[in-house]
């Protein structure tokens, strides 16, 4: 596989659309075990990031992702803002000056992103957070030949598995056992993000 500057833009644009389309659902998920703003936070942040992409020129992947990261940091707010922002910021460091990524380079960026999220959130996987999508997805990208549909399936499956987990981080942790009967909103938005990546890569292969 190869991920070009254009694909990267497409990823962010598609992610923006998906967050917008799923705004109400994400907030509903967050209403159940949080404060009901996750969809609004994500839609607001990714919309602005997508707008930034639209207005950007012929830049390298690193700078596109870095400016998206800064937008996410300043526009999402709440817990997910610093987390998604840090993820993209860490990845952008790995992708500096590149105009195309190999699968290996993609994996390196995503790995850095996961580390960033873990440090920022003082969390590990298994705590019913976005990490429970990020960690298995990144492992998949590191270890397998990337097939977009498989990537999306991995993200979906991981997201679904957060139902049944007990939250120990973020607002959902206050719900204790009750949190188990719900999907984690951040896991769902991360699934949307990786589905958008799969679609961006899929287009390329057509």
């Amino acid at each position: 596989m190869e991920l070009t500057t254009n694909d990267m833009k497409q990823w962010l644009l598609t992610a923006g659309e998906k967050m917008q389309d799923n705004k109400e659902y994400l907030s509903e998920l967050d209403q159940a075990i949080g404060d009901g703003d996750h969809g609004h936070n994500m839609a607001r942040g990714f919309q602005e990031a997508a707008d930034g992409v639209k207005g950007s020129g012929e830049e390298d992947i690193g700078s596109i992702v870095k400016s998206a990261a800064m937008t996410l940091i300043s526009k999402i707010g709440g817990a997910s803002g610093p987390l998604y922002g840090t993820a993209f910021l860490k990845a952008s460091n790995e992708w500096k000056d590149k105009t195309s990524l190999t699968q290996n380079e993609l994996a390196q960026g995503l790995e850095a992103a996961v580390e960033g999220v873990k440090t920022r959130g003082k969390a590990e996987s298994g705590g019913k957070t976005m990490l429970d999508v990020w960690v298995p997805v990144v492992e998949y990208v590191q270890q397998r030949d990337l097939v977009p549909s498989e990537l999306a399936a991995k993200a979906k499956e991981s997201m679904e598995q957060t139902e049944g987990m007990k939250a120990n981080k973020g607002r959902a942790s206050y719900y204790g056992e009750e949190s188990k009967t719900h999907i984690d909103p951040g896991a769902y938005s991360s699934y949307l993000l990786f589905e958008a990546l799969a679609e961006a890569l899929d287009k390329e292969e057509v």
Binding site: S74, A79, T86, E178
Partner: protein, 318 residues
């Protein structure tokens, strides 16, 4: 949802414009930012005090800007932590070179955003210290305890102390000392509705109350039939005094906080019982505060905060 708003997306912007216009003698808004700053900040030689968090808790935090209190308040969306760039602007606006103390309520979003802002400030050469208020006893695990009305006591005491010349390290230490001696517990009767979602944050039966609900409607410890005010006051007070281990002969600050739509009349009825119980245990009340200090939009409910005083803190209570 029955609210005096124009568009749910603009409530924070319009509130800040209203605040800046109404209180132009005392504060100013940083143009383009959701940050209100004490009019005469930065004060030469004084440590800057910045707090903030999601909106919807008014008068927290902009209402606490002023002498012996905060230098700046950062407003996030309703019940949503503000972003680091906003916090960074507040830090820059109040730093006189003596550094800035960040007073943060313990919610993962707030802590992370303030962390990032502190890192950004460091990159610009500004010293900061961050203290995290964890007064809400409703959460068992101490590390996860939320920040609630007790935050206001940190503003007040540390605000006075830095005005009297404490440096950044000393201020942070004092703040942590206050936090270590402050506990709160609340009880709610009805939820609030965030304008953007338009739906109540939770539901309670007509005869039900919830002990320990968080200031954003986070679930509390227990739901039960609504009890008489005296029973409620006693339960809240017993919890906080036990956890603080307040003893015969000691002195406290008592804050009875209204969550939004509970009339002042009821807060005084709750205060009355709390004061009587403290008197009965020979615990003396140094200062009493009764009112809406940390609200949750129109949530009905109240909380009791106790600060166990010692000489270190007492000299900064004016």
């Amino acid at each position: 949802m029955k609210k005096f708003i124009n568009n749910p997306e603009n409530v924070v912007e319009e509130m800040l414009e209203g605040m800046a216009a109404a209180h132009s003698d005392e504060l100013r808004r940083l143009p383009g930012w959701n940050v209100l700053v004490r009019k005469d900040a930065p004060l030469p030689g004084k440590v800057g005090l910045v707090s903030g968090g999601g909106s919807g808790h008014e008068p927290a935090h902009a209402g606490y800007i002023g002498e012996n209190m905060l230098d700046a308040a950062v407003a996030g969306e309703v019940f949503t932590s503000p972003a680091p760039d906003q916090i960074l602007e507040a830090i820059k606006a109040v730093d006189s070179g003596s550094g800035v103390l960040l007073i943060v309520k313990n919610f993962s979003g707030d802590v992370m955003n303030f962390d990032m802002a502190a890192e950004m400030a460091a990159a610009e050469g500004i010293d900061t210290e961050q203290v995290v208020v964890k007064d809400d006893m409703a959460v068992e695990n101490e590390e996860d305890r939320r920040g609630t009305a007790g935050t206001v006591l940190v503003h007040k005491i540390v605000g006075t102390a830095v005005e009297e010349g404490l440096d950044l390290q000393e201020a942070a230490e004092l703040a942590r000392h206050v936090i270590g001696h402050t506990r709160s517990m609340g009880v709610s009767l009805s939820p609030s509705t965030v304008p953007a979602s338009g739906k109540p944050g939770f539901t309670l039966a007509d005869d039900e109350m919830e002990l320990g609900t968080g200031i954003h409607g986070e679930p509390g410890m227990e739901r039960k039939k609504i009890q008489p005010a005296d029973v409620v006051a006693e339960e809240l007070l017993n919890n906080v005094t036990a956890d603080l281990d307040v003893k015969n002969g000691e002195e406290v600050v008592v804050l009875v906080n209204g969550q939004g739509s509970t009339p002042l009349m009821e807060l005084y009825i709750v205060y009355r019982k709390a004061a009587a119980l403290l008197a009965g245990r020979n615990i003396s009340i140094h200062t009493s505060m009764v009112g809406e200090y940390m609200s949750s939009l129109e949530m009905a409910g109240c909380s009791i905060t106790l600060l166990k005083l010692d000489d270190t803190m007492k000299k900064y209570i004016t």
